[in-house]
């Protein structure tokens, strides 16, 4: 493992009921890098995310984040270590207000017992205001999150990720169901985030990936099929076969 | 379907009855009761697990009330039954008892079946100085001034039953399996029986005691254990204090495993006609039960009681049983006491009760004893294939009920006596003192 690596998966495999979802996958990410992961359905993209975030334990292989072995840790521990994850379907706390959603996400207090007696500090308020500005939801702050539009929910979730102040963001299909304009805005947002944090984006939308303009990894049947610039990858005959063949 | 009988119906009924009598209907022997009705409470579960046994007792009291009103009521006033449903819930029993006594101001209460329901209402009756007639055989070891125990005490059921099993006619058993549901009645009864059997020379090794939870429905293991217990080369008998619900699967399993009454007789204290009505009795012929009443006993009073019952329930197949007779005796004793003192005042009625006599349905007389228990004849019946019992043995005369068992070391010196001279439910005859805090 080279010194300049933030996240490294080496020879990871996982099997569900005889089905190899991830097959000897190796991947590494440099600090500050943004990476797009593409691949057909069933290529193992979501499972890979699950493994990194501790939801699924691999059968074999090592997952390292800085010097920590993630396969030994569970989701909250990994999250506290600085890995944030955004789900494919926007998952926000619908009954809470936008503001409360962000408040819960803020890095800091995690013990339920401490939370019992915690009061919102001025510093926290400032951070929330900042986040609201970043995700362009300032006017929606007192609303229940359940009443937001689909795109707004996506942003709120990204805002919650930012509130966690992670070093690495895993983003699963952030633009599914968005309008073209929203898609482009999201790409801008991610690039902005990438200035301070590493990002892994899983996405189908090629226009969006193109707009991100980052290194691309193609997954197929649980392992890496190709890696490189989008143009270079999209000309790879194996990739073309996987996407268009058969 | 049993006829519904709410308070309002009842008032309507008594009005109608009065009207009919005023109009001179033939056969109206007594004057129609007039004036403010005397209320009595009926505290039996009509839903939940105990409804199966208790609903019948509610019907009996309603019938007796109707009959009494036809005879002219009590003190010339009509009786009115206040029926409540404690729903087989023991704290609810206490609540309903309080309601009957404090809100409905009933003159007396007829109710309870399980020991726990009685224990639950007891403090209420003592606090509010009510009168409870308790019509079910029970474990004894209790003697409250406010309760009249018209069912059997252990010495009026369990002891004679075991005597029968030990006798030649009963098979001369030398080995006893005491099986019961795990609650206070079987625990106490079995404790008394164990001591009694030992006094009769039965060794510890020849007594097996087994307890099962309420509603036990799978008896395979226990019945096979009984079989094994019975294979020691000695005549073996079973004394069953299994609670109502669990009896059906128990007897079904006995039948299925081929144990008949001639192999290992089972003497039951909680299986009566009502329970048999829910069973196919062919495999049970010859199994035994000890009671103070059987429907099959041929006596004029019993015949007419059964007829009234069939007329009242409009069901010629509805069975009668022991707790029904106990309710009948309790009700009539109360009526006598009220007529005697000319008042429903609780203290006066309680004091007037001791010594009163009421003919049993099956012959003989029930007399109220100073300990608020009564004298009862004891019968042993064998189950027949028609769902009735055939009486094979009976005590020569009535047995007086003992509140405290002489076979339990802690209570052998205790007596209950609520007459003026002693006025104590738990009087220690050795220490010459009333124990605890229960003074009349």
């Amino acid at each position: 493992m080279s010194a300049g690596t933030l996240l490294e998966l080496s020879h990871v495999s996982v099997t569900f009921d005889g089905f190899r979802a991830i097959n000897d996958l190796s991947l590494s990410l440099a600090p500050g890098e943004m990476r797009a992961i593409i691949g057909p359905n069933g290529a193992g993209k979501t499972t890979m995310m699950d493994i990194i975030t501790g939801k699924t334990r691999p059968d074999t292989g090592v997952v390292k984040f800085r010097e920590h072995d993630l396969t030994k840790l569970d989701e909250p521990a990994i999250a506290r270590m600085g890995i944030g994850r955004k789900f494919q379907k926007p998952t926000v706390f619908e009954e809470l207000t936008v503001r409360d959603n962000l408040l819960l996400s803020l890095k800091g207090l995690r013990s339920p017992f401490a939370l019992l007696f915690a009061k919102e500090t001025a510093e926290e308020k400032a951070r929330i205001d900042g986040l609201l500005h970043t995700i362009r939801l300032g006017r929606e702050a007192p609303r229940q999150a359940g009443g937001l539009s689909h795109g707004q929910k996506q942003w709120l979730e990204i805002g919650m990720l930012l509130g966690q102040e992670p070093d690495l963001l895993l983003v699963d299909e952030p633009v599914a169901g968005m309008t073209d304009a929203e898609t482009m805005e999201t790409a801008d947002l991610l690039r902005e985030i990438n200035q301070t944090r590493s990002v892994v984006v899983v996405e189908h939308d090629m226009e969006f990936v193109r707009a991100l303009d980052v290194k691309v990894t193609v997954l197929h049947e649980g392992s890496v099929l190709a890696e490189g610039e989008l143009d270079q990858v999209s000309n790879d005959p194996r990739v073309i076969e996987v996407y268009l063949g058969r | 379907m049993s006829p519904r009988f709410s308070r309002r119906d009842f008032t309507k009924f008594s009005l109608a009855a009065s009207a009919a009598m005023l109009a001179g209907v033939k056969g109206a022997a007594a004057a129609a009761p007039k004036g403010e009705p005397i209320r009595i409470g009926v505290l039996h579960s009509l839903s939940g697990t105990m409804a199966i046994s208790e609903t019948t007792l509610k019907d009996v009291i309603l019938m007796l009330v109707e009959l009494q009103n036809r005879k002219g009521g009590v003190l010339g006033r009509p009786l009115e039954a206040v029926v409540v449903d404690p729903a087989s819930n023991w704290p609810l029993f206490a609540e309903k008892a309080r309601q009957l006594l404090a809100v409905d101001k009933v003159a007396s209460v007829f109710g309870c079946w399980t020991s726990v329901s009685r224990k639950s209402v007891l403090p209420v009756f003592e606090e509010l100085n009510g009168i409870l007639f308790y019509p079910v055989q029970y474990e004894g070891q209790e003697c409250s001034r406010n309760v009249f125990y018209t069912g059997a005490a252990p010495n009026q059921q369990a002891i004679p039953a075991v005597d029968y099993l030990l006798s030649a006619d009963g098979g001369g058993a030398k080995r006893f399996a005491l099986i019961g549901t795990d609650y206070v009645y079987p625990r106490t009864t079995n404790q008394i029986l164990q001591n009694y059997l030992k006094s009769k020379g039965i060794a510890d090794a020849d007594i097996m005691v087994n307890y099962t939870p309420f509603g036990q429905s799978d008896w395979q293991t226990i019945v096979s254990q009984l079989k094994a217990f019975g294979s020691a080369g000695k005549k073996t008998a079973v004394v069953s204090t299994i609670n109502g619900d669990a009896n059906v699967p128990f007897y079904k399993e006995l039948g299925a495993q081929g144990i008949s009454a001639t192999d290992i007789p089972v003497m039951a204290f909680s299986v009566g006609e009502e329970e048999l009505a829910g069973m196919d009795t062919k495999p049970l012929v010859g199994q035994l039960a000890a009671w103070n009443y059987f429907e099959s006993i041929d006596s004029p009073a019993n015949k007419s009681f059964i007829k009234e019952w069939h007329d009242y329930t409009k069901n010629p197949k509805r069975t009668t049983n022991d707790p029904m007779e106990a309710s009948y005796i309790g009700f009539n004793l109360w009526v006598q006491a009220v007529e005697k003192v000319g008042s429903t005042d609780h203290d006066k009625v309680i004091d007037a009760m001791v010594g009163l006599k009421q003919p049993n349905l099956t012959g003989g007389t029930a007399q109220v004893l100073p300990n608020h228990h009564i004298t009862k004849p004891v019968y042993i019946g064998e189950i027949q294939d028609d769902g009735q019992f055939n009486v094979v043995w009976q005590t020569p005369k009535e047995v007086p009920g003992m509140a405290w068992s002489p076979y339990v070391p802690e209570t052998k010196n205790l007596i209950g006596d609520w007459t003026k001279s002693v006025s104590c439910g738990n009087y220690d005859t050795v220490k010459k003192a009333c124990l605890g805090a229960k003074h009349g």
């Binding site: - | 709410s6 729903a87 738990n426 605890g436 805090a437």
Partner: protein
């Protein structure tokens, strides 16, 4: 305003509870001749309802706010009741039937020679209080720690809570267990030297119950109202999401679970003092299910609704078992069906909608959101 904030009325309810119990307590001390005298019957009923309201409040905390459908909460209620019952039984002392100062009647009865070790100290009120809090909290803590840690959820959790209370019921039914078997503990005489049957004790107990219920309401409101409450609702609606934020939902659930068990246990203790009997029937799974129904009738997730539901359903039960002894089950059954069909948010939902005439809001259903990400 919105469904999740509907517990704001809890403080109002708390005040009403204190006022009402105060009025009842004073009313009960009036001479019997007074037309507004409150009879002891009403007093014992009111005491019972308040105790049940505590249980309902406890259920609402875990079901309404943490999404844990408990079918075994009566276990904690009954354990609290037994702890208090043990003390009350020891208070009887030599005034029992057998006049035995050392052993409770039921032990003499079964020929026990000495007190079992777990009865030691039960004659001291502070010990009883400690037992009342520690035993249910300990059991809840152990059970919750095991269950939440291994992410048992949904119906699986519901069924094992039911299994828990069922197992306890069977255990307490055994006479050999040392708690009076089926008969339970009863025939109490006094508490801390006050005669339990005296009108003053009754009035005092009712008022104390009212204060405790009000206190529990406020405490519950504090718990669900703050940041912990937000987290609780977050865990209820999207448990896995909270995990990726770095929270440990099992800790959140455990905390509220134990808190709720303690409230239930205090309810049980108040129940025993005022109803006068505790027996294993209180552990019956049906009792736990009924407690859930009270909450549903009153309105889940509203705190006040739990209290109102418990009182109304039990009041109905009291009245109908007397008025329509053979028909009341039809009424009760129909009430439960009608509530779920027509009042999905219970009476509190109805109250919320009537004045505002708004189309009914859809309550987000507490289905487990993990489903989508298998």
């Amino acid at each position: 305003m919105n469904a999740s904030l509907s517990f704001r009325g809890a403080s109002v309810t708390a005040v009403i509870v204190v006022l009402l119990t105060g009025v009842l307590a004073v009313g009960s001390l009036l001479p019997a001749s007074s037309p507004v005298q409150v009879s002891p019957f009403i007093m014992t009923l009111a005491g019972k309802y308040l105790a049940y309201a505590m249980l309902a409040l406890a259920v609402d905390l875990v079901w309404g706010f943490a999404g844990i459908l408990t079918l075994g909460h009566a276990a904690f209620f009954a354990l609290g009741g037994y702890a208090m019952g043990m003390y009350l039984v020891r208070e009887i002392g030599a005034r029992g039937v057998y006049g035995n100062a050392d052993l409770p009647d039921f032990m003499v009865f079964l020929s026990w020679k000495s007190l079992p070790w777990y009865w030691w100290g039960s004659d001291h009120f502070p010990v009883a209080l400690l037992l009342m809090l520690v035993v249910p909290a300990g059991l809840a803590g152990l059970f919750g720690w095991l269950a939440f840690r291994s992410r048992v959820s949904g119906v699986y959790l519901s069924i094992i809570t039911q299994a828990l209370t069922y197992a306890l019921m069977l255990a307490f039914f055994q006479n050999g267990f040392g708690f009076g078997g089926n008969n339970g503990l009863t025939d109490f005489k006094d508490i801390l030297g006050f005669d339990l049957h005296s009108p003053y004790t009754r009035a005092g107990m009712l008022f104390i119950s009212g204060l405790i219920l009000a206190g529990a309401l406020l405490a519950a409101r504090y718990v669900v109202g703050g940041r912990f409450g937000s987290l609780l609702i977050a865990v209820r609606d999207a448990e896995s999401r909270t995990r990726f934020l770095g929270y440990r939902p099992e800790q959140v659930k455990l905390l509220v679970w134990v808190f709720s068990a303690v409230i239930a246990a205090i309810g049980g203790a108040l129940y025993v003092i005022q109803v006068g009997i505790i027996n294993p029937g209180e552990f019956a799974p049906a009792n736990s299910i009924e407690a859930v129904i009270w909450v549903a009738v009153g309105g889940r997730g509203t705190l006040s609704g739990a209290v109102i539901g418990a009182i109304l359903v039990n009041l109905g039960k009291t009245l109908f078992t007397a008025w329509l002894p053979e028909m009341w089950l039809y009424g009760l059954g129909a009430l439960f069906m009608a509530t779920t069909l027509f009042l999905p948010q219970g009476l509190m939902g109805l109250m919320r909608h009537l004045p505002e005439k708004r189309p009914s809001e859809v309550t987000p259903e507490v289905t487990n959101p993990e489903g989508g990400e298998a």
